[in-house]
């Protein structure tokens, strides 16, 4: 019995070697490592693949993509990067901050460029210098939130609101930097920010109940844990007729009232174009500054507005990039 198992393990090892060595000419191989599984990050990935395609790298034609998702486990994330390195990928695309850091840390001295996306603060993550230049063989795009635009929109939709509730996970550094910005800007729009920090997804129901007692509306960040449990939060908020604002299009689609957000697909596309430049050899990642998307769009959900008895301001609706008239589950 024991021998059989060792035999199986050995053959599995051997197989993986053979797969690893099977590399054809002229096909570019990239590894895409995504930190968590949710709409925004998925859009990022799809946009990235589109961006490569627009620039001459077509999947299953001249481009081979190895995709893996760490499911929010940083230790697994590290091993995914090691696997990419052992498969000798030409470039690693890392989606979300911890993944970007694993990729950058893991590829030092390995001569594999890293392109990241959905990193809110590349400077704080030490992936870029304060002047936006790269710290090494790494570059990418940031998904910094349009905080003032979002606050202005909330003020326009809810003229009498005073307290905005924000839930965030204490372990997500993206959220912490966003909260800081909200805190600094809230007073300019006559708001007070009520925060509720949670440790795990299991804390969300209780935290939601508590914060809903204290606020006029909720506002989401791009917090991975909170966004993953958004339907549960929306359910509770709807029962109390408290509007919830999203941070990007996917959240509006599933039932947030409105959002000024960036299009993660576009962000991914921009990142894909940067990756193509590196793959073609036209530029080195180390000489590319990280980029941001500076166009933000309004997304609204007219079904949610109707249920809450709120009228969305006309000028916002007119300029909307997309309006939803149903709640997608």
């Amino acid at each position: 019995m024991k021998k059989t198992i060792y035999l199986v393990l050995t053959s599995v090892l051997l197989m993986s070697v053979l797969i690893g060595c099977n590399k054809k000419e002229k096909i570019t191989t990239i590894g895409i490592a995504q930190f968590a599984d949710h709409g925004s990050l998925d859009n990022c990935r799809e946009g990235f693949i589109q961006g490569l395609k627009d620039n001459g790298y077509v999947e299953n034609d001249n481009l081979k993509i190895i995709y893996d998702n760490a499911q929010e486990d940083g230790v697994i994330g590290n091993q995914i990067i090691t696997n990419f390195i052992s498969k000798k990928v030409d470039l690693i695309a890392a989606i979300a901050t911890p993944m970007a850091q694993s990729a950058y840390g893991g590829t030092k001295n390995k001569n594999i460029p890293v392109v990241y996306t959905a990193v809110t603060d590349p400077v704080l993550a030490e992936l870029a210098n304060p002047d936006k230049t790269s710290v090494g063989n790494v570059t990418g795009t940031s998904d910094i939130l349009p905080v003032t635009e979002q606050l202005a929109m909330i003020r326009a939709i809810l003229p009498n609101a005073k307290k905005i509730g924000i839930m965030y996970t204490t372990s997500e550094s993206n959220s912490l930097s966003a909260i800081k910005e909200y805190r600094a800007a809230a007073a300019d729009y006559g708001f007070e920010i009520i925060e509720s920090g949670i440790a795990t997804a299991a804390d969300i129901p209780l935290a939601t109940d508590q914060i809903l007692e204290k606020v006029d509306c909720l506002n989401n960040l791009t917090d991975n844990t909170v966004v993953s449990s958004l339907s549960a939060i929306l359910n509770k908020a709807n029962k109390k007729s408290i509007p919830v604002f999203g941070s990007e299009v996917e959240q509006v689609k599933i039932g947030c009232l409105a959002s000024i957000g960036l299009d993660y697909f576009d962000l991914g596309k921009k990142t894909g174009a940067m990756a193509a430049l590196i793959l073609k050899g036209e530029k080195q990642a180390s000489e590319m500054e990280f980029e941001v998307i500076d166009e933000y769009s309004f997304y609204g959900n007219s079904k949610v507005a109707e249920d809450l008895g709120i009228i969305l301001p006309e000028d916002y609706v007119k300029s909307a990039k997309e309006m939803f008239n149903e709640v997608v589950q």
Partner: protein
Amino acid sequence: MLTIILGILEEGLLYSIMTLGVYITYKILDFPDLSVDGTFPLGGAVTVVLISRGMNPLLTLLFAFFVGAMAGIITGIIHVKFKVRDLLSGIIVMTGLYSVNLRIAGRSNIPIFSYETIFENKFIDKYIPEKLVPYIGLIIIIIIVLIVKALLDRYLETKSGYLLRAAGDNEVLVTSLAKDKGLVKIIGLAIANALVALAGAIYSQKQGFFEISNGTGTVVIGLASVIIGTKAFQNIGFIKTTSAVILGSIIYKACVAIAISLGLPASDLRLITSTLFLIILIVSQDRMRRVKDA
């Protein structure tokens, strides 16, 4: 291929330091200590904060070791003095450490890419030939593991080490030697958690950043490695248990690496771990039964 083996050895050996800690509590003391899920990132937080304040990276490892020991002592005191059940004492400390770690670190994610670590420093740049650079990480980890293992082996041969082993097998013996078995347990937990924190510190230095969520699941990795190691090598006389535990850690990481390399999604990895766990347990029982029958 070389990269994959290098990766497995690096990760496996690095985690084996943590696994040795789990071995002390789980195998020697018969104490299922869950606080390690908190002490692993605790070590990371301590080392990263001290490095970013300019302390020598090697010295920060000592601090991580001692802070880890303190966490272990707290688990021990909760269990021994306040008579809280072993499993619960670990859970209490693990839960509390989450907040403590965030307090120490200040935020959930701290990069140290721009600082010197034990893996990246002027000394290595200057004295290590270019050709050796890809292996330097592994070499450093091997040196640390050898030191830790040698010290632990020596300790287990001392009087205090004997008492530690007795406390797990035969508490009455410890009492009959007029020794306080509670104190022995606390010492064991302190050493175990010190090793776990040390591993967490080295891990953070290796990957170049501290991330609070990286501690989740440490105890599962540790237990799996201990069981794989001790069961797979239990009949091979010349392999010391501590060596078997280190090998177990490497085997565990190899299985995960192979699973990832074969393209199995990360969401399935836990199932693979538990299956592997089960297989090892069944195989070793199978063999024991045969020994009994004969």
